[in-house]
């Protein structure tokens, strides 16, 4: 500017100068436009072309999808008493890498967790390649809250549910238990796992640098809680059976035992207990020998308790009537190489007496006179050699060979309960079928309402006659007088079977069995008591198992409001006319 004012430029010079300025400004303008285009192109690239990728990268740094644990359904007994419930707990987990950066905080954490600091440090350092490590599973939420409040980076809580079994040992076997991850492992927990199990939900949250949840953004999937299961178990009867079985086990120093109580009209299992038992709340006790549900999984040779089924086959064949007589003298019977004998020579007796005295000779004679197919058909019809249809996990089908292979000696052996095996549950099911007038209903562990359809496997007349025949077992002179229940007619059969082992039968180890139906005039409850290896002087089904039956039944009949059907034999002093009272 100064030069222009001092030296007046000539025209040509001025033009050249202006020209050079115009050139410069167009370059600047071009650059600006280019820059603008560049920015626009970049904006298009970021906003339109790479948008998805970049948004995802951004979200990955702050958004998290977290699991919402679903609540597992409760298991209750038929009256709604809880047998298994889930309560929320917190599990403490750490990110070892993150915690290792704040290793100075470790003693504080160890103190809060009540763990040895050195042990904890070793666990952290030996898992440095991992990003997730459980420190404590299933802590009460208030305690876990204190841990979280320490504010140590890398220490986190996970909401989970822990299963509690309020009935504990009483219903331990039938209810079963879950794994630590809350899925069914045994018993009804496994059987109805699908129903009980909920579906975990998910939600999206925004997380800050330290892993704290800043904001809940949205719910992706609401958790679907599991449904509740109402079982067929009546906890009152269950407890009664548990107590009586435990007492009998101690009294007779037995190895094991089972009691099963079934509602005849519906096929519901009202109680199922085993000894030895375990407390499902204590994971230390979960040893296979203890938690095996013997009533459903263990098979045994039923001994004489099968004799009523042979009589059922006899009556169903039409060859025998209720009052038919059989000559059992001279008190023993030789079949092939084997001799079957009774304790005394009973002479000529009717079918009821054969059952009442548990005559081996009588039963064998009856069985041998029948067609093998008839026996097989009756036994199979009653469910022997098949699973009961309860769907109970691990249930055994027992063993019953086909009649095509039966020889006379086999039939005679079979007639008093050897050479075939059953589970206590099967035996109870078969008795329930007899009690239900020959209608076989599937066993159920779920409470059922309304009439249950069943399969007619035995002529109703035969079934009723049989229940009457079995009443003599409990009456005076029978083998199970101790199964009597005051005020009720009882129908049942004892069994005392030698236990088999590799190579033959033991002569001093027994299974004592009693299977029965009450009230005999119109059976409502079928019960089987099995006591394994009673080791005192007493070992017969009639002396060891029958009293357990009587005690459980007198309580169960009262609890179920079953009216007495045998007031004639009640001592006169206990009877009161309604009008006599106020």
């Amino acid at each position: 500017m100064k030069s222009r004012s001092s030296v007046k430029p000539r025209c040509g010079e001025y033009d050249a100068q202006a020209k050079s300025y115009r050139w410069r400004s167009s370059v600047v303008l071009g650059l600006v436009v280019l820059g603008a285009f560049g920015l626009a192109a970049r904006a298009v690239e970021l906003q339109l072309l790479d948008h998805g990728f970049l948004a995802k990268q951004g979200d990955d740094r702050s958004m998290r999808v977290v699991k919402i644990a679903a609540h597992r359904g409760a298991i209750t007994d038929r009256a709604g008493e809880p047998l298994a419930i889930s309560t929320p707990v917190d599990s403490v987990w750490v990110n070892p890498q993150e915690l290792n950066d704040n290793i100075d905080q470790l003693p504080k954490l160890a103190k809060a967790l009540k763990q040895d600091p050195q042990f904890l440090a070793r666990r952290i350092t030996s898992n440095l390649d991992r990003e997730f490590l459980y420190l404590v599973r299933h802590m009460p939420p208030d305690q876990a809250g204190h841990i979280k409040a320490l504010g140590i980076p890398g220490v986190n809580l996970l909401r989970e549910y822990r299963r509690y079994y309020p009935a504990g040992e009483v219903a331990g076997h039938v209810v079963g238990f879950t794994t630590i991850d809350d899925t069914g492992q045994e018993g009804l927990e496994l059987c109805f796992d699908q129903l009980l199990n909920g579906e975990d939900g998910a939600k999206r949250v925004i997380q800050d640098l330290y892993g704290r949840y800043v904001e809940n953004v949205e719910s992706i999937r609401a958790p679907r809680p599991g449904r509740d299961l109402v079982t067929s178990i009546d906890l009152r009867i269950q407890y009664l059976a548990y107590r009586e079985l435990k007492a009998a086990m101690q009294e007779y120093r037995a190895q094991a035992g089972s009691v099963i109580v079934i509602d005849v009209d519906t096929g519901e299992v009202l109680a199922m207990v085993n000894q030895p038992s375990y407390n499902p709340n204590d994971r230390e006790q979960l040893k296979p020998g203890l938690y095996r549900n013997r009533a459903a999984t263990d098979i045994f040779e039923p001994g004489s308790s099968i004799k009523p089924f042979i009589m059922a086959a006899a009556l169903a064949s039409g060859q025998y009537r209720v009052d038919s007589v059989v000559d059992t003298s001279p008190g023993f019977l030789k079949v092939g190489t084997k001799v079957f004998e009774d304790e005394t020579n009973l002479g000529t007796v009717d079918l009821a007496t054969i059952l009442a005295k548990s005559s081996n000779v009588g039963t064998a004679k009856v069985a041998l006179s029948l067609k093998p197919e008839q026996i097989w058909k009756t036994l199979t019809g009653l469910g022997l050699g098949q699973v009961t249809g309860s769907g109970y996990p691990g249930e055994s089908a027992g063993m019953l060979s086909s009649y095509a292979h039966w020889r006379p000696i086999g039939i005679a052996t079979l007639s008093h309960g050897y050479g075939l095996s059953v589970t206590p549950l099967q035996l109870a099911h078969a008795y329930a079928t007899l009690g239900a007038g020959g209608i076989k209903r599937p066993l159920s562990f779920e409470r059922v309402s309304g009439p249950v359809p069943g399969e007619q496997v035995l002529d109703p007349k035969v079934a009723h006659e049989l229940v009457q025949l079995m009443e003599q077992v409990i009456e005076k002179g029978g083998t199970a007088t101790r199964a009597a229940v005051v005020g009720y007619r009882v129908s049942g059969k004892t069994g005392t079977a030698w236990k088999s082992f590799a190579g033959g039968y033991s002569t001093d180890k027994y299974m004592a069995v009693f299977a029965g139906l009450v009230p005999a005039s119109h059976p409502k409850i079928a019960t089987v008591v099995v006591i394994d290896e009673p080791s005192g002087d007493l070992h017969q089904g009639g002396t060891v198992a029958a009293p357990v039956f009587a005690n459980v039944m007198s309580g169960a009949l009262r609890l179920m409001d079953v009216p007495p059907d045998d007031l004639q034999n009640v001592p006169a002093a206990t009877l009161v006319q309604a009008s006599d009272t106020q």
Binding site: H71, E81, P82, I85, S86, T87, P88, P141, R159, Y164, P166, A167, G168, V170, E215, N216, V217, E218, S219, L235, R236, Y239, R243, V486, G487, P564, L567, V570, P571, A573, T574, L575, V576, Q577, A578, T581
Partner: protein, 92 residues
């Protein structure tokens, strides 16, 4: 021809509609977040109630467990099961 004539009116209306719906989106989004936060709060409340309910259920089933009741009845209250000869059956 007709559209061309209406353009000056249609364009601002559409612009306003776009703006309005954008505001609505913002509002709805904000609302949704607010409600979700509220839902979370209620969920937390439900969880704590559930915890308490579970605890109470366990407590109740402990106090009412048959074994416990039986122990108290026989030891503390000197009660016993009526024997057969103590029972009277009332005939209708």
């Amino acid at each position: 021809m007709k559209i061309g004539k209406l353009m000056p009116i249609v364009l601002p209306v559409l612009w306003l509609a776009v703006l309005g719906s954008a505001m609505q989106v913002i509002y709805a989004r904000h609302n949704a977040r607010n409600m979700f936060v509220h839902l979370e709060k209620l969920n937390a409340e439900r969880d704590s109630l559930e915890m308490e309910w579970g605890r109470l259920q366990l407590e109740q089933s402990y106090w009412s467990s048959h074994a416990f009741v039986e122990r108290v009845a026989s030891a503390k209250l000197q009660m016993s099961l009526p024997q057969t000869h103590d029972v009277r059956i009332v005939r209708p």
